[in-house]
């Protein structure tokens, strides 16, 4: 990997956005929350796709108006809806992500959507359950499997069977496209681990050294890990942050060994969670939202006392941030796509809960305010 490490962001001030909008994907449809540059009041709108399970909705940052939403209902097959007018009208994909006939595999749902590289307008990637990677070259209207991954000779070994994986089905997620190089990509799987491609997806290699896999007989594995969420650090695609089933990790390329950054978490809280959310402008800052991973894995806020944790030093230390959140008897979870940041200089941080509340902070997590309640179980939030 002969890639030059990028300089960390210098703290250059960004132009203050005039508005922010949250796309809220839920088990029963898609909602939006919108605000102005002050971020004091929010207006809820929706639902769209009422009754559909919307796993993820995403804006195309290249044109600022194309939205994709990954949806299915309890009865019907999975599909992708597209809007080219910022969500006013939607049209279903002509060819949604699906395996080749005769392969024996069936897409249960599309879980993750990632816009392609800035130099490739119209390119999108989708990760599905069971684990597979799909690509669209026409803005999400037609999708094809990425053969380099889906038909890779090692894929079965990497993924295990389609019946393996998380309780809601094994997932391919955290599809990352290096902003400096369209051919350089990462993806992660629950379970399976993190993988890298240097040739636009034609071939993939495991990238899991240093990551724990305590649930395996041999914890020092090449693959088979359970990354819950992997993200680029702000402005530095040579730094990856990972929230894993077995801890918190950071990788600074060209290194290939992940560093454990969970040691600074209080033992009473632990280091298990779903989301990993880097700051939009500071590569040393990121947020997590721990959950209870003890005993039978209740997957709720430890002790019923929800809190985000923030690092300002690349994961050496973590600070609890719970002002404004319920102090007790709050038994919800924040899923891996359900926490995000906006692009303001003082980052707004947002998360959605399995009990249908959206919480936001406009002071980088120092204090939280409930922005919406009584929504369905929230799967994903994106700030656009």
């Amino acid at each position: 990997m002969a890639r030059t490490a990028a300089k960390l962001p210098t703290g250059k001030r960004v132009v203050a956005p005039k508005r922010a909008r949250l796309l809220i994907a839920t088990r029963k449809g898609l909602w939006t929350l919108a605000t102005d540059g002050a971020r004091r009041t929010w207006k809820l709108a929706g639902p769209q796709f009422l009754g559909n399970i919307v796993h993820h909705a995403m804006l195309d940052p290249r044109d600022g108006k194309t939205l994709l939403a990954a949806a299915r209902t309890g009865h019907l097959g999975p599909t992708v809806f597209r809007s080219t007018d910022n969500g006013k009208t939607w049209k279903e994909a002509t060819t949604p992500p699906a395996f080749d006939a005769g392969s024996g595999r069936v897409v249960d749902h599309t879980f993750w959507l990632t816009p392609g590289h800035a130099s490739q307008p119209g390119v999108w990637f989708a990760g599905t359950s069971p684990q597979a990677l799909f690509r669209s070259d026409d803005g999400g209207a037609n999708w094809k499997g990425v053969a380099g991954f889906n038909n890779h000779p090692q894929r079965k070994a990497w993924c295990g069977g389609d019946q393996d994986g998380t309780p809601d089905g094994p997932k391919l997620h955290s599809i990352l496209v290096d902003p400096r190089d369209a051919a350089h990509m990462y993806l992660s799987m629950s379970s399976g681990g993190t993988f890298e491609s240097l040739d636009g997806g034609a071939d993939w290699q495991p990238l899991n050294q240093g990551v724990r896999a305590d649930f395996q007989p041999n914890p020092d594995l090449e693959f088979g890990h359970d990354p819950h969420c992997v993200r680029f650090a702000a402005g530095n695609p040579d730094r990856l942050y990972q929230q894993n089933h077995c801890g918190l990790f950071r990788l600074d390329r060209p290194e290939t060994r992940w560093q454990d950054i969970g040691g600074g978490m209080p033992k009473s809280v632990g280091y298990v969670g779903f989301p990993m959310v880097p700051h939009p402008h500071d590569a040393n800052t990121a947020w997590i939202f721990p959950m209870d991973g003890t005993d039978v894995w209740p997957r709720i806020s430890p002790g019923g006392k929800p809190a985000a944790y923030r690092t300002r030093d690349g994961g050496k230390t973590w600070k609890r941030q719970a002002e404004g959140l319920p102090k007790t008897q709050a038994w919800w979870t924040v899923k891996r796509q359900a926490m995000t940041v906006d692009n303001f200089q003082a980052a707004g941080v947002y998360f959605g809960t399995t009990s249908g509340e959206v919480w936001g902070s406009r002071d980088e997590g120092r204090s939280w305010k409930c922005l919406a309640a009584h929504l369905p179980h929230i799967y994903a939030i994106e700030a656009v």
């Binding site: 009865h75 019907l76 097959g77 599909t79 699906a98 395996f99 080749d100 006939a101 392969s103 069936v106």
Partner: protein, 92 residues
Amino acid sequence: MKFRVAIPSPLRSYCDGAATITIACAPSSPTLGDLLAGLESAHPGIRFRILDEQGKLRPHIKVFINADVERNTAASLPRNAEVMIVAALSGG
């Protein structure tokens, strides 16, 4: 040969809201698969929500030919058969 097909409410958005539609099948001995192909031609996108990419009926979809449940898309359709597609109510 033409067949009347009852469409369940979750699929009516593909058929301009119609609860029942008529589909013509060209083969002299049409199968359920031929009927679903005709349905797709008339209302693009609907078949993938009924059948998966391996050509099997999705788990919560049932098809009745006259009064009998049929899960085999190779099954023949009798002349004048009435076909009912049902999205089984389940889950929460």
